[in-house]
């Protein structure tokens, strides 16, 4: 049987170690380490619920082998902000009613962060294109588009990285 290997992931700014076999996906590894905010929706890259940032780039953690993230920075939705100091995206999603069942939201907020990182003033088409790999069954996306545009405006007003 193939061996387990110890890897180090810098998750939301903190180094965490785990011992995994080669076939363990980053999604499984993150949840095994207690990062339950990363959601499993399809394990095929069809739904985006498991999206995280690896070195700042949005990826489906279900399609990423954990070993390949060894030594890298992983950011989940919980790394963007918390209840006491939410990220502008989190604030806009909560206030705008953009989260319903909420299961897709950790992935959608991560994708939204990537969209705004790439383009601080995304057009509606940019937002749609950026979210095309994130399925939501509750919202029809309307309030999600609005929340992302609102958050982008807040972030521009605040200037730079919050």
């Amino acid at each position: 049987m193939p061996e387990n290997r110890t890897i180090t992931l810098r998750i939301n700014g903190r180094d965490e170690e785990g011992r995994f076999p080669a076939h363990r996906t980053l999604l499984e590894a993150l949840r095994q380490l207690g990062h339950m905010e990363v959601k499993c929706g399809c394990e095929k890259g069809d739904c985006g619920a498991c999206a995280v940032l690896v070195d700042g780039m949005a990826v489906d953690s279900c399609l990423t082998l954990a070993w390949t993230a060894d030594g890298r920075e992983v950011t989940t939705v919980s790394g963007l902000g918390d209840l006491d100091s939410p990220h502008p995206l989190q604030q806009a999603f909560a206030d705008g009613g953009a989260a319903q069942c909420g299961y897709c939201i950790p992935g959608i907020i991560v994708a939204a962060k990537a969209i705004i990182d790439e383009n601080p003033e995304p057009s509606e088409d940019d937002i749609r294109l950026g979210l095309s790999g994130n399925l939501c069954r509750c919202t029809g996306y309307t309030k999600i588009f609005e929340a992302i545009a609102d958050a982008a405006a807040v972030m521009r007003a605040e200037g730079g990285e919050p």
Binding site: P21, M36, E37, V38, K39, C40, G41, C42, E43, K44, D46, C47, A49, T76, V77, S78, G81, D82, L83, P86, L89, Q90, Q91, F93, A94, D95, G96, G97, A99, Q100, C101, G102, Y103, C104, I105, P106, I109, I127, R128, L129, L131, S132, G133, N134, L135, C136, R137, C138, T139, G140, Y141, T142, K143, I144, F145, E146
Partner: protein, 773 residues
């Protein structure tokens, strides 16, 4: 993207402080920061991981099942087959608290000898890790000897058809016989007959079915599970053979339901293995499991024969409906009952025959899905209205106007809905909001469609539905609500909080709602049937009002005024128009506590209780009340490729009274997505009962690139039977969307596609057939 219109005349002096405001839902902060634990996020030490082994054909006899190699695998704790358990079945009865029970509807927990659908469970595995459970599944050997199956409900009705079970394949038959159908058709200038087909639909909640079970120190089986119905503890207990008080279901915030978590999913498997192993067990369905792990929306074939005068007045309607019930009964008898009642839609039809049947096949079993039969009826009756308008040359909205059921008039079952019927206002506003049409460009044609609906809210009255809620004030003036209601994402619990704090004059950040625990929160019934706000909202309002009356009475004594002069708002208690007479709520609570005045209240709300509809005529009261509204869309159609794009999607609903407008809009916008997928892109394809589209890359719900921004027009008649005159919006949000799209496509290309989903290929074929003829 929305506007709200109220009929201020309906209830004068309505001045809400919390209700009707788009407040940030109580569950939102946890969800957007990743702090909210869903059922799959709970862990316990020493947990075993489960896997369900399933049949890979749809109709067969199980001739061999050898689990010895799986049992021998290191790390496997338990493998269960039908041979290992008492001869028990899993109830597929209508869930909830009423104790009503049907005959012969139950499914064996595991296949004993006969496989009736693709994916039917053969064995349960529990192992130290998910990898080991998956490996064990590969080591189980089984042989399935195919038996001829039946995969089309029309075929299943024919003499000599393969039998799924019983003496014939008929699961349920319902009828309406109202007025004089012959006289009605005789009166007609024109009779129009068409057959419409609606497809299977997958709920496609993002959170697959999941749960964690353990046996506690009292020998109670605890199940933390993603469900719409915690009161399944009863059928779970029956299925595993323990008393009802030995099963405790604890919900969690649900990652989407839409009816797909209304029946039992993983609960019985979890309970069995928790009992067998004595260890915590966890079962999370893969997406492929989920596609075969819960019932789908019933496909329907609906034939409408409508008699109309030249002026467009409907004189008679004869409707035949056949629904594919799949391989087990589940909620099929009720789904066809809803379809039956909804058959004429929001129109006055005095001469009406409806015959609705649910038929068993070896397809995936079908059960609850947002709209629950009434939606399939709407898909047909609203297309039929456009066909009639086209034939008569009458404007589509005008034809509807001439037939709308009005407030105070009897519906299909002879029952007069107690609330306002504002279909016409909704239709006019949605239609007008479409604005200027988009231009036609080359092969891209545009078209518009409208659909109106009637959809019940609240469960069938013969189920004698009740709901409980408890409201209390803590010593520091904060509020606690306790109620068993599950929150499936629509903001059910936040709405309860909003109602309670409205009555008690507390701000929403001062309330905590404890919900969905079958052992410790008062039983509130199911989160299904657009009933949570109606039923549990009424219970919470009732509890809060009783508590308020008690508090106000004590405050009035303190202030030396009449109770009617005292009001509560923003965490203060005060005498109206006497600014000096005020005290913080916390002071009043302390006075009450010191004097032993009860600071909490448990209330039960009872829906109207009724009898079953008359079996011969279908007359009587089926539901407590109905919601009405309309959906309008504009589409473009590429006549060369058949691609359809929805350009505008506008909904107008009379919701009675908004509790939280943002939540109402969210429901409407989500319903628009569900309905658009149903109309255009979502397709479950079965080959001999075998699902060939078991993933989100094959089963295609609309993405962010496919959905227009959905505009909401919210009307408030304040006439509903819910709290503050609310109706319900969960199911109504979706009902009219698909036929509006179908009508818009037909408008764009001048020919109708009678079968959903309206795929590009079906559009092209319809155009080719028209050109050929």
């Amino acid at each position: 993207m929305s506007r709200t219109e109220s009929d201020a005349g309906a209830r004068p002096n309505v001045q809400f402080r919390q209700v009707g405001k788009p407040l940030t839902r109580t569950d939102a902060p946890g969800k957007v920061t990743g702090r909210t634990p869903y059922a799959g996020d709970y862990v316990m030490p020493n947990t075993l991981h489960m896997r369900v082994l399933r049949a890979d054909v749809a109709s067969a006899r199980l001739t061999r099942l050898d689990v010895s190699k799986a049992r021998a695998l290191k790390g496997v704790a338990c493998v269960l087959t039908a041979a290992d358990m008492p001869d028990r079945t899993s109830a597929t009865d209508i869930p909830g608290q009423t104790g009503q029970k049907r005959l012969d509807t139950d499914q064996p927990i595991l296949v004993k000898d006969r496989v009736r659908y693709f994916g039917e469970p053969l064995a349960l595995i529990a192992a130290e890790t998910r990898d080991i459970a998956d490996h064990a599944a590969e080591l189980i050997e089984f042989e399935l000897e195919p038996i001829p199956g039946v995969y089309d409900p029309l075929e299943a009705l024919k003499p000599g058809a393969a039998l799924v079970y019983g003496a014939d394949n008929i699961v349920a038959e319902r009828k309406i016989r109202k007025g004089d159908i012959e006289a009605g058709f005789a009166e007609a200038d024109l009779v129009i007959e068409n057959t419409y087909k609606t497809p299977f639909q997958e709920h496609a909640f993002l959170e697959p079915e999941v749960g964690l079970a353990w046996v506690d120190e009292n020998d109670v089986v605890n199940i933390r599970v993603s469900t719409q119905v915690i009161e399944h503890f009863r059928p779970i207990a029956d299925a595993i053979g323990v008393p009802h008080n030995k099963v405790r279901v604890r919900g969690a915030l649900v990652g989407g339901g839409f009816g797909g978590k209304e029946d039992l999913t993983v609960e019985v498997y979890l309970a069995l293995l928790a009992k067998h192993t004595g260890r915590p067990v966890r079962l999370e369905y893969s997406r492929e499991d989920s596609f075969v792990g819960h019932g789908k929306r019933h496909p329907f074939v609906l034939t409408y024969r409508t008699g109309v005068t030249n002026e467009g007045k409907i004189t008679a309607m004869d409707v035949q409906m056949i629904a594919d019930a799949g391989a087990y009964v589940f909620l099929s008898p009720y789904v066809v009952l809803y379809a039956l009642v909804a058959a004429p839609g929001p129109y006055r039809v005095d001469n009406l025959n409806v015959f609705a049947r649910a038929v068993a096949t070896n397809n995936m079993y079908t059960s609850a899905f947002r709209g629950f039969g009434a939606l399939q009826a709407c898909a047909a009756y609203e297309q039929q209205m456009d066909e009639i308008a086209g034939t008569l040359g009458i404007d589509r909205l005008e034809l509807r106007r001439r037939n709308f059921l009005k407030t105070g008039e009897p519906m299909s079952t002879g029952f007069v809905p107690p609330s306002a019927i504002w279909t016409e206002q909704c239709a006019e506003q949605a239609w007008a909001a479409l604005g200027e049409p988009a231009p036609v460009q080359g092969p891209i044609r545009t078209g518009r469609g409208l659909a109106c609906y009637q959809q019940s809210y609240g469960r069938l009255t013969f189920l004698h539905d009740t709901s409980e809620a408890w409201v209390g004030v803590e010593m520091d003036g904060t509020v606690v609500v306790r109620s068993g209601v599950t929150d499936i994402g629509a903001g059910q619990i936040s709405a309860l909080g909003q109602i309670a704090v409205e009555v008690l004059g507390v701000t929403l950040d001062n309330v905590v709602i404890y919900n969905s625990d079958s052992a410790v929160t008062p039983l509130a019934g199911t989160t299904t049937a657009t009933r949570a706000l109606y039923m549990t909202g009424n219970a919470a309002k009732q509890a809060a009002e009783t508590l308020r009356a008690r508090l106000v009475e004590r405050a009035a004594r303190e202030f030396g005024v009449e109770a009617g002069d005292v009001d509560m708002a923003f965490n203060e208690v005060f005498v109206i128009d006497r600014p000096e007479k005020t005290m913080p709520l916390v002071n009043l609570v302390r006075i009450c506590a010191a004097e032993g005045i009860h600071r909490s209240e448990l209330a039960i709300f009872r829906a109207p209780f009724g009898d079953f509809l008359d079996p011969e005529t279908g007359q009587g009261q089926a539901h407590p009340d109905y919601a009405y509204g309309a959906h309008a869309v504009e589409v473009s159609v590429d006549v060369e490729t058949g691609e359809v794009e929805v350009l505008k999607s506008i909904a107008a609903h009379d919701v009675g009274q908004c509790i939280n407008p943002a939540a109402v809009e969210g429901q409407i916008q989500g319903g628009a997505q569900n309905g658009q997928g149903y109309a255009l892109s979502e397709e479950m394809l079965y080959e001999e009962g075998r699902l060939v589209t078991p993933s989100f890359s094959e089963y295609l719900m609309p993405t962010a690139m496919d959905m227009p921004r959905v505009e909401c027009i919210i009307l408030e008649s304040r006439s509903g039977v819910g709290p503050f005159g609310a109706k319900g919006i969960g199911e109504p949000a979706m009902t009219a969307v698909a036929p509006a799209i179908a009508n818009a496509v037909a408008d764009a290309i001048g020919v109708r596609v009678f079968e959903m989903p309206i795929t590009p290929e079906r559009v092209v074929r319809a155009l080719q057939q028209r050109d050929a003829s």
